[in-house]
Every structure is written in C-alpha cells, then in structure tokens.
C-alpha cells in the first residue's frame, strides 16, 4: 500500500518535471494497475455518456471521465510517451471543435425552420441492435464531451510543461 502511494508521488514528480529526472524509478505497481484501470475507466465513460440520454450522465461527465483516464496514464508513464500514442491533435483545437460541433447541431434546427437548439429523435431498425432510438441531441452531447475533454487535457498538459510561451 505504502509502496503504491510512493509510486503515485514519484509519478507526480516525474509528471511535473518531465524528463529531467535521471534516476530510474520503479513504478511497476502503478503502471500495472493503470494498464487495467484505464480500460475500466474508459469503458465506464462510454456507459456514462450513453446513459445520459435518459438517466444521470451525459457528455460532460463522460468527457471528464475520459480525461481522468488519460490523466492517470500521464501520471503512470510520462507525458511524452502517452502523447506519442495519440494522434497529434492540439487539445485546444479539440475543445474548440467540440463547442463548434455542439453549436452547429443547434443551428441544424434553424435550417429546418425550427427554433434554434431544437432536437429530433426517431426509432430505427438497425441490423444488430434491433429497434433503437436515435437522437440528434447525441451529436450535441458528443460536442460537449469533446469540449470538456479538450479543456481538461489542455489544462493538465499546460501545467505539466514548465516553459513560458510568451516571448519576453
């Protein structure tokens, strides 16, 4: 138990200082747990996202939980390694395109002559799922999730790098 909490502390230090640390630290416990836990967390986030249509949950909390999983990866490994595994998307652009997606979904209603932010839904027979409810508000929610994910990750990513981007 104590060993594990030290592991997190070390992870935090490595996280804040990037590749500055030269000493080899043994993080086996944290890294092994993270490998399994991040999958559980990501799965749970998908559940939360989809549950949000009728029950507690939704895009905001779904996005936040994804961000939590990725933050855990950042802590267990270091920022550079994890970043290399993702497509090279700027998190800020991710957040912006999320909001853009949400607003444009809302404006779709304007095109159909309905009030701004109106949403439509219908029941469709899909091959594998049988009769399924499909709603345009899910697209809106995807936008919200992307916005939250992008914002949370760009905050984490910004405080992890220790350099000033403003020219003096």
């Amino acid at each position: 138990m104590q060993n594990q909490s030290f592991g997190i502390l070390r992870g935090l230090r490595r996280f804040t200082e990037g590749s500055v640390i030269k000493i080899k630290i043994n993080d086996v416990l944290l890294q092994t747990v993270t490998k399994v836990a991040s999958f559980v967390i990501l799965t749970f986030s998908v559940y939360l996202f989809l549950a949000g249509h009728h029950n507690p949950g939704g895009g905001f909390i779904g996005g936040l939980v994804v961000a939590a999983a990725i933050t855990l990866l950042f802590l267990a490994y270091d920022v550079k390694t994890v970043r290399a595994g993702f497509p090279p998307v700027d998190f800020k652009v991710l957040a912006v395109s999320g909001v853009l997606l949400a607003v444009i979904t809302g404006m779709g209603a304007v095109v159909f002559g309905k009030p701004f932010l109106s949403h439509a839904f219908g029941y469709f027979n899909l091959p594998l799922f049988g009769e399924t409810e499909l709603a345009t508000s899910v697209i809106f929610d995807v936008g919200v999730a992307l916005a939250v994910l992008g914002t949370a990750l760009s905050i984490i990513y910004t405080i992890s790098e220790d350099m000033c981007i403003w020219k003096r």
Binding site: V93, V103, P115
Partner: protein
C-alpha cells in the same frame, strides 16, 4: 408557436466566428478579415431587427421550442435592438483600431477569438429574457475580459487583473445568491413571468430586499457608486481593449439595471429608485472630482466613464417616460463617445509615449484631425447642442426638475447632473489645452509612435456621434419606442407569455 430565429444570430455569429478563429490561430490576416466580417454581419442583422421590432413589435425566440416560463427565451425589444447595433458598430471600430496597435504577439495568442467571445457575452446579456441566463452571459463576458485584461502579462496588467477578477467573482457570487433568493420567493426566473408575479404580490419587503441586493450586484458591475476598482482596471490593458471595456462592459451592468428596475421591481419607487438616485448623484460627484483632479490621460478617461454611468442611471431613477427616453438616448451616445474618447486618448499616448499631461503639448500642429475629433468628443460629452449628448441631457434634466412636485423631488439630481457636465467639460478641456495647444514639444520625427491606420476608426465613431446628435429627429421614434416598452411592462410580458397569460 412564435419564433424568429434571427433573434439568436447576434449571439451566434460572434460565437461561431470566435471558435473558427481559435482553430486558425496562426493565420492573422484571416482572423482580421473574419473579425470585420463578423461585426459587419452583426450590424446588418441588428439593423434588420430594429426594422422588424419597429413594425411588428417585440420579437422572441423560444430556444429548442420550449414554451416561455419553462424554457429559455431570447427577447429583442427596441432597447436591446438599438444596443445590439451599437455594440456591433463599436466592436467593428475597436477591432479596426487593434489592427494597427495591438501587436503581433497578442494577435497570435487568441486576441481576436476572445474579442468575439466578449461580444458574445455582451450580446447575450442584451438578448436574454431570463435572469439566470443573464448571469451566464455576464460570466461569458467577464471570463473573456479576464483574458483580455491580463493578455500580455505586464506587471501593471497582472496587478490590476487580480483586483478585477476578485471584485467580479465576489459580485458574481452575490448575483447568484440574489437569483437563488428570487427563485425561492417568486418561483420563476423568466423576467416577464417575474414581472407578473411581483406585480401580483405588490412587491412586499422581501422582494424589495432582493431588488436592492441585485442593485448592489449590478452597481458593482457597472461602476455605479461602487466604482473603486474601475480606474485601475481600465487603464491597465492596451487601448483597443480599454476602449471596448469602457464602452461596453459597464454598460451591460447598466442595461441590467434598466431591465430589473423598469420591468420587474417598479412597485416601491420610493425605496429602490430613490436609492438609485442617491447612488447616481454620488457617482457623478465622485467621478467628477476624480476626473478634475487627475493629470493622467488614462485616469481622466476612466473617471469620465464613471460620470457617464451616474448620468444614465439618474434617468432611470427619475423614472418618467421622457426621462427613460432620455436615458436610452444618452446610453447609446455614451457608448459611442466613450469608445471614441478611449481610442483618441490611446492615440495621443502612443504619439507622445507618455500618459502624463504635463509631458505633452502642441499636438494640434502635426495632428490636426486628431485634435478636432477630440474637441468634438469633449463638447458632445459635455452636452453642447447639436451634438449627441445634448438631447439625452436635456430630457433627463427637464424631467428631474419637472417631477419635483410629483414625487420625492429630484431637483438635487438635476443640479448634480448639470454640475457633472461642467466637470466633464473641464476635465476634457484640460486634456485638450495641455495636449493640443501650446508649444509643440515633439517634432514630427521625434514622435514615439505613428497614427497609421488608427484615425479611421476614430473618424467612423466621430461621424456616428455627429449623426446620432444631428439626426435626432430621425432616431427619436425608435428611442421613443424603446422608452415606451420600459414604461409599459405589459408589452414585454404579452410578447413573451403570449400563450400563458
């Protein structure tokens, strides 16, 4: 179902424009052109909305098709439409000024997107028909302003932005508390619905208390009496940003005072509106003393913003149809003129390289146009006919003197209003005499900065100010309609709650 999707566009255009610009943040020419495009589009759409409102009456949009007291509505009456148009125009001129003055570093670090988000918040506040949504739009506006005030990270900027953020966080918290009280007492936050419920109950003591709490919140935001944070905060950021702050941010607070004290809490005039009057009078006095005392251009201009706030609110305090029309007229005049004044002051500081009045002189020899525009702005703010300040001032002061018999008596408010005009004139003439007259201290080649591209937005604003004054006969029907919908809240209520009431 009643709807007019056009109502949402003054809010959506800057939002979309800001988002798209944030994606292409490296491409500065694109952001510049897109900013101009966005503000022009806002102007055109609000012009169309003014036409629609003047012909068909108040326009509303129920978002997502949810009916009025339950869902959220956007409402455009004549007051909102006029303010939207003015906001678009001021945004256009300030962004034009920013092209030549803001510097490449700020341009690369999201200056234009946050400018758009600021306008989103301002327009949203003018549009919304729901008190909680007003809070949200305030926050959108304030968060963008936090970024704009600290962008660049100078020592002064950081010091002032901490104060600014703390003050606004406190007032936002109080706003939320006030909203919670109001919801607990009245059970609704839709402004039209609130108006009905408050009228039914006859505004008992608890509602008046909430009204005073909200008044404190809005006066913190609009620098009415509680203005101690303003001079520092508005003199820290670069000129283009200071101008948009001086012209728009405090005015959103005043708009909120207009709405709450004419639409919702108008049953206990002797408490709420007398308090408004006292605060307006003190604001004008203290602002005037500040403007007269200072010898620093930025501080003089910041104190002039405070005097303007006091004068507009005194029109609401007197609360007769003509004084409300006067206040609306002066409101729009003040927005345009404050933007102009800040831009001119910024240009002078750029040329001289200092904001101390004693270190400048004789600028009119090399900068004739600049000097005359400053002179016109000064006369207009002091209320010299036929410039735009005159009509607003005469309506408010006339009503202040006339309503003496009917209610508590507002002779003192009218007198202080006149006194404040003199103080405005004195403080601005001080800048004019010290800065533009006298011996020319700087030869043309010794000047610290050039005026390339900076005069066009000033000329546009001066022209708008002159047209607003000389063409008063043309604009009066529109302003009258704005005043009418404030005097008669039923117009607003019937437009919003058509199916319920």
């Amino acid at each position: 179902m009643i709807m007019n999707n056009l109502v949402a566009f003054p809010l959506l255009i800057p939002l979309l424009a800001g988002l798209i610009m944030a994606i292409y943040r490296k491409s500065i020419p694109f952001q510049r052109w897109f900013s101009l495009f966005s503000f022009s589009l806002i102007c055109i759409i609000s012009f169309y909305l003014i036409q629609q409102v003047s012909i068909e009456g108040i326009q509303i949009l129920e978002l997502g098709g949810w009916q009025a007291p339950f869902g959220i509505v956007l409402v455009v009456d004549m007051l909102s439409a006029l303010l939207l148009m003015t906001t678009g125009f001021i945004g256009l001129t300030c962004v034009l000024f920013a092209f030549g003055s803001i510097g490449e570093e700020r341009e690369q670090f999201y200056f234009y997107p946050f400018f758009q988000f600021l306008i989103t918040g301002v327009n949203g506040s003018f549009l919304t028909g729901d008190l909680f949504n007003l809070f949200v739009c305030f926050e959108v506006m304030l968060i963008s302003s936090y970024v704009l005030i600290s962008l660049g990270g100078n020592k002064i900027q950081l010091r002032e932005s901490i104060k600014y953020v703390v003050i606004n966080t406190i007032s936002s918290t109080l706003f939320l508390v006030g909203i919670a009280y109001l919801y607990a007492v009245a059970g609704t936050l839709n402004m039209a619905h609130l108006s009905v419920r408050v009228a039914e109950s006859g505004q008992p003591g608890i509602l008046t208390t909430v009204a005073v709490l909200l008044l404190i919140v809005f006066s913190l935001k609009s620098a009415l009496f509680l203005f101690f944070w303003l001079p520092g905060a508005y003199s820290a950021p670069p000129t283009a940003i200071a101008a948009i702050f001086g012209a728009l941010l405090t005015k959103v607070g005043i708009y909120a005072i207009f709405r709450t004290s004419t639409l919702i809490f108008y049953h206990q005039l002797e408490i709420t509106h007398t308090l408004l009057g006292v605060m307006a009078a003190l604001t004008m006095l203290f602002g005037g003393i500040g403007a007269v005392a200072h010898w620093d251009i930025r501080n003089i201009l910041a104190y002039n913003v405070i005097i303007g706030v006091g004068f507009i609110v005194s029109g609401v305090a007197i609360f007769t149809p003509a004084s409300l029309i006067g206040a609306t007229y002066y409101f729009i005049h003040d927005m345009v003129m404050k933007a102009l004044l800040f831009l001119l002051g910024g240009t002078v500081i750029r040329i001289v390289g200092s904001n101390k009045l004693k270190e400048m002189g004789g600028l009119i020899r090399n900068h004739t146009l600049l000097g005359w525009m400053f002179f016109i702005a000064a006369l207009s703010l002091a209320g010299v006919p036929p410039l735009s300040g005159f009509i607003g001032k005469i309506l408010i002061i006339q009503e202040g003197l006339a309503s003496g018999a009917a209610r508590a008596g507002f002779y003192w408010l009218a007198a202080i209003g006149l006194l404040s005009s003199l103080m405005v004139l004195y403080s601005l003439m001080k800048i004019f005499i010290n800065g533009f007259w006298g011996e020319t201290l700087l030869a043309q080649d010794m000047e610290k900065g050039d005026t390339k591209g900076l005069l066009l937005p000033c000329v546009l604003l001066t022209a708008a100010g002159i047209i607003w004054g000389v063409g008063a006969e043309i604009f009066y029907p529109f302003v009258e309609q704005a005043g009418e919908s404030m005097v008669n809240p039923n117009l607003y209520i019937e437009a919003v709650l058509r199916e319920v009431v």
